[in-house]
Symmetry: none
Subunit: 206 residues, 4 copies
């Protein structure tokens, strides 16, 4: 992805410009999807908000669907980056800390453009990206499961089910916390919520 910056300045310039246009389009699409919903998100409007012509939009994206897919992709990448980083750190921590970290990262991940979520969720089945999301979900579940299996201090339970229950619970608390109570949720309340959720999950696993 990173090309030699000192050579090919002309080409780089235009590559940068292209990149900037693509980014602007994705960003504009995301914004309009949030503000007005999929229905009202017309390509002309998107192009206008991105500050380019419709023609240019179609230079970079073959269809509206492709644009939306790009938004989904970008959003997924961001979430995956955050979550994967956390999971990688977590693997070595003792349960208490690990769970606390998972809860925290779940909230962090849900705070990434939370209003975009439901809009994209409806489109995912239609853009063929269900596979990606499911794969990611499986990846997380399997990492958590592996972690649980590696911890001898835990009581005997089906690690598959336990992972499922834990991940669900954590994700849900994060989801509800961010989405439903977004405005009224003070930092202190978030911390308490992290404590409680951690306690619930840890209590369950031990």
């Amino acid at each position: 992805m990173a090309r030699k910056p000192l050579t090919n300045p002309r080409k780089n310039a235009s590559q940068n410009r292209s990149r900037a246009t693509v980014d602007a389009l994705i960003e504009a699409t995301a914004r309009i999807l949030v503000r007005e919903g999929f229905e009202k998100a017309s390509t002309n409007r998107i192009a206008e908000l991105a500050g380019v012509s419709v023609g240019s939009l179609y230079q970079y994206f073959p269809s509206k669907e492709a644009l939306v897919a790009a938004v989904i992709d970008r959003h997924n990448q961001e979430i995956m980056r955050v979550v994967r980083a956390a999971l990688a750190e977590t693997i070595e921590l003792p349960i208490e800390k690990a769970v606390r970290r998972l809860v925290a990262v779940a909230i962090e991940a849900h705070r990434i453009d939370p209003k975009l979520h439901p809009v994209l969720a409806e489109q995912i089945p239609r853009t063929g990206q269900l596979k990606d999301v499911e794969a990611f979900n499986r990846e997380i579940l399997s990492l958590v499961r592996a972690y649980l299996e590696s911890r001898s201090e835990l009581r005997k339970i089906d690690p598959e089910l336990a992972a499922f229950a834990c991940v669900s619970a954590i994700e849900a608390v994060a989801h509800n916390a961010v989405l439903n109570q977004a405005d009224t949720l003070s930092d202190k309340m978030v911390r308490t919520l992290v404590d409680e959720t951690t306690r619930m999950v840890v209590g369950y696993l031990r």
Copy 2:
């Protein structure tokens, strides 16, 4: 509202006809939303599937949005009915049974047309029904909280937060169970999942 069938036969006939038309339209809308998404749900198609003319559609619903709002309403009513009934029974049960009942009803509620959920979710902010959903959420939270406060055998925790954590956890497990794994979820697995979730929540509360 319910008139004796032998009086007002004329009016009742036409009322029934109206009612049937309205129901058919809502049903058709729900079906198309599930099958093809909001985008493809054109009023002409909806009318056709409902077996009435577009004109009739607009006789009863001033816009496509109004129709979708009606679908959301109907869906919400069904869920509320199921959940309220369960909560009413639950209030007198001991914790273990109460939680088990809540988990079960959460799954039951999520099994009501689960594919409709994400489609409606996108529309709710735009149809002005957020208030309704939020009110329902608050209602549940407050009932659960009242239950927790009434139970002396529980450890000391902020009942607000505890209720929030429990309801989130339960709801999420149900949501994930029904939505993500719908096809592969055997009855036995569901039962095990109910067990696990119950254990998690009860362990947390005691």
Copy 3:
């Protein structure tokens, strides 16, 4: 038109009811035409304002066009009645008084539902009532012309042209007076205007 009132009371009752319905429909149509224009004047709306069902509307008028034609007819009748009455009186008056009377009746006639005028004007060519209006115009012109010919005190001019010029001038002053300045026209101003117009026309004819 007047049937024996004491016999056939039943039938008369229903005839009266019919008559009332027809009148209500014509009146409702006129009102809506004024308020919202031809385009927005739907038969359903008209029926509603008239307090009857659409079905009844079509019992009495075979089409929307027929309804509008009835409105035009009623309006024309009213104007004709007023104008004819005035012309009949006028024929024997000396010029000064005759002209003054014509000016007065022109204003009176234009005050009959003045906002309805432009709306009906557009429809007249399409309802086949142009003939009626033209015939009425010719009738007036010919009466005025006959009057002018009968008055020996007038200077020699082509009575056809003179009649045309006089009627036009009178009608126009009335039209502008009523339509353009409707709100701001005090009774005193109207009287002055009648004076001026009379003077103009009389001066022209002598």
Copy 4:
């Protein structure tokens, strides 16, 4: 606004194309309004007659009403141009010639697409252009009044009323001459009519 044709050729090209499209649409609308009335003037038909797509119509006009408003505006502009030019010349002429000129220009103005007039008249109250028309009427009245005030040879009369009466009379004769008798009006008759009307008005003013 007028750019040198050799600079900005690209932009000018597209500006010209736009301008041509807009003009074609206004022209097509006017034609259809005349031929078939407001009712039958559908946007698809207008676009077709203009030789462009409906999409283009809506690129330039947000609604059918806006199109009609543009037609009204164009028509008003044309009339105003003709009338203003005549009034400017008139101001220095002696009465006889001035009145003759006004009568002539009134006829000329009414000959601009006379069938369009009644159709537009109905729409004006609904397009918010009443203000424009009224302002123009006031402008004319005030110019004529100023003229009358500047002429010492006239008898003493309220110049406001005199202007009103004269303008009305002139306008009416022109209106009736053009509209009602359009087909049968020979040039000679028109000339005689101008003579007569001039005589009437001049006689009145002296």
